[in-house]
Amino acid sequence: MKSSRIVLFTYTLFLMLPIYWLVNMSLKTNVEITGPLTLYPQQPTLQNYVKIFTDSSWYMGYVNAVLYVLINTFISVVLALPAAYAFSRYRFVGDKHLFFWLLSNRMAPAAVFALPFFNLYQAVGLFDTVWAVALAHCLFNVPLAVWILEGFISGVPREIDETASIDGYSFPHFFGRIFIPLIANGIGVAAFFCFMFSWVELLLARTLTATNAKPISAIMTRTVSAAGMDWGLLAAAGVLTIIPGAVVIWFVRNYIAKGFALGRV
């Protein structure tokens, strides 16, 4: 047991050190960062964070990112719910192929889609809006939500559907009033994973936005100025992108594995 503690501790330390270093840097001034290395901030300062929260070109990046992530999560989960139910409860023409096709889109490299998406969303006039990014992220998030929800729905016995239909519930009534509460956990987990994968993606988000809808992750890549790299600001912006995930993760901690495994555990 003692050796397992050491393994776990060492691994956790390995995970936390780089994050600590980022937080550490975000609380330093640039003078201190580029000066001799210090293990903790000698003169802690919040000026990097103040800059982000007062400069609209910075904080709008967070607003944009949160907007497209929320739109995407909503679309993905709402569309995926009936589909996941269908996959879980019925056989129909092409079901296996369709299910595999969905998976293959979750696995498709974003780099392949960057250029065609750029053309597509320019053609339909959505380029540089949060809608473009929200829709583009559906490429991998809708399949992901279908797979996760299918896993959860298959865990609910079919007898419940049958009993409800014998008791005279109409399908929409049954689905909304009885079934959705039963798989509330699954919906939460699917939403969390859509949120997460949309939040962490950069390539498509950067390609589909120019100025108005630029997300924070894309703004961050441009902290180089005439005075050199603004490391403190970069670190502070980075820390702020970690926080949303760190906050919601507590609620889904017991389902994380199931979500990552596309509902297959």
Binding site: L8, L37, Y90, F113, P116, C138, S154, E201, A261, L262
Partner: protein, 311 residues
């Protein structure tokens, strides 16, 4: 088939009704994914057989780009095959490190108490960080002037500079990926381990089984299913990796860490070489699709076998 993937429901599989009206429920998903996947891929196919000198004037080029792409002696083909080689080496190294390490950490996780929740949250944290921030974290961490790791390595006399050294760049990128994604393997394995009833361990204890015997006979078989998923996900995601190495090394030094994705974005959005980029996209996608199908088949077979074993 879908509940065939779920062994718990194995028994009711045969009762799943055949109903084509289920298509109506799938239709919205089908439409939005088709809009996002099929439509763009059609543009790609269209570009891949044409050449352009700019000004939106296109010429028919047939399978010219594909020939060039698969010919190691041409400029494009050489680049592609080199990048693909790097991708395979990278994915192989990633799997060779992350899978055993992930299993080891999963085995050392606490089984109950508040420690479980705390470890789960801490372990999952790197998975939720935007990929370019992951790149930034390691870009900073590895610098010898302002980063803890780079500074420490330089202090103890190691010549470490990921900007100019090929080996250092590879080590940085692999460490970054291990840092970023090993937790995924841990979480999956841990979920598999939790499904083992205590009675198995008690029986093993009575038999006086060694730690290794318990691992081989009880824990590993229970983790088989999740390990397949872990290998699938890690292979796929490491094969299409873009953002993290792009931020840290930008594909350098030279082309030492230029993976297919990085090269593709360079050709497509940097040089706007549409024909080349499109042909490359299709071949790249085809590789991914093939590997994905192989894993999917293995996964389904495996779960069907498990279901048969249970009934």
């Amino acid at each position: 088939m879908t509940s065939a993937l779920n062994p718990k429901l194995g028994g009711v599989l045969d009762m799943k009704p055949y109903n084509n009206r289920a298509w109506f429920m799938v239709l919205p998903v089908f439409l939005i994914v088709a809009f996002s996947a099929v439509l763009p891929l059609m543009t790609v196919v269209n570009y891949s057989v044409q050449d352009t000198f700019g000004n939106n004037e296109f010429f028919w080029n047939g399978i010219g780009w594909f020939k060039e792409l698969l010919d190691p002696n041409s400029e494009l083909g050489g680049r592609f095959i080199d990048a693909m080689g790097r991708n395979f080496i990278f994915s192989f190294l990633i799997l060779a490190i992350e899978i055993p390490l992930g299993i080891a950490v999963a085995l050392s996780m606490p089984r109950q108490g508040i420690g479980v929740s705390i470890s789960l949250v801490l372990l999952a944290l790197p998975l939720l960080i935007p990929w370019n921030v992951v790149g930034t974290i390691w870009q900073v961490f590895g610098r010898s002037d302002i980063g803890l790791m780079g500074w420490a390595l330089t202090e103890i006399g190691v010549d470490y500079n990921y900007v100019s050294g090929v080996i250092a760049a590879w080590i940085t990128i692999i460490m970054m990926d291990v840092w970023h994604w090993t937790s995924l393997v841990v979480l999956l394995c841990y979920a598999g381990l939790r499904a083992i009833p205590d009675a198995y361990y008690q029986a093993a204890r009575i038999d006086g089984a060694s730690r290794w015997a318990i691992f081989r006979a009880i824990q590993l078989p229970k983790m088989n299913r999740v390990l397949i998923i872990a290998v699938l996900l890690r292979f796929m995601d490491s094969f299409m990796i873009y953002t993290e190495p792009f931020v840290v090394t930008g594909g350098g030094p030279g082309n030492a860490t230029t993976f297919i994705s990085i090269d593709l974005v360079k050709i497509a959005l940097g040089q706007f070489d549409l024909g080349k980029a499109a042909a490359l996209s299709l071949v790249y996608n085809l590789i991914i699709l093939t590997v994905c199908w192989v894993f999917y088949t293995i996964m389904t077979h495996f779960e069907n076998a498990e279901r048969r074993a249970q009934t």
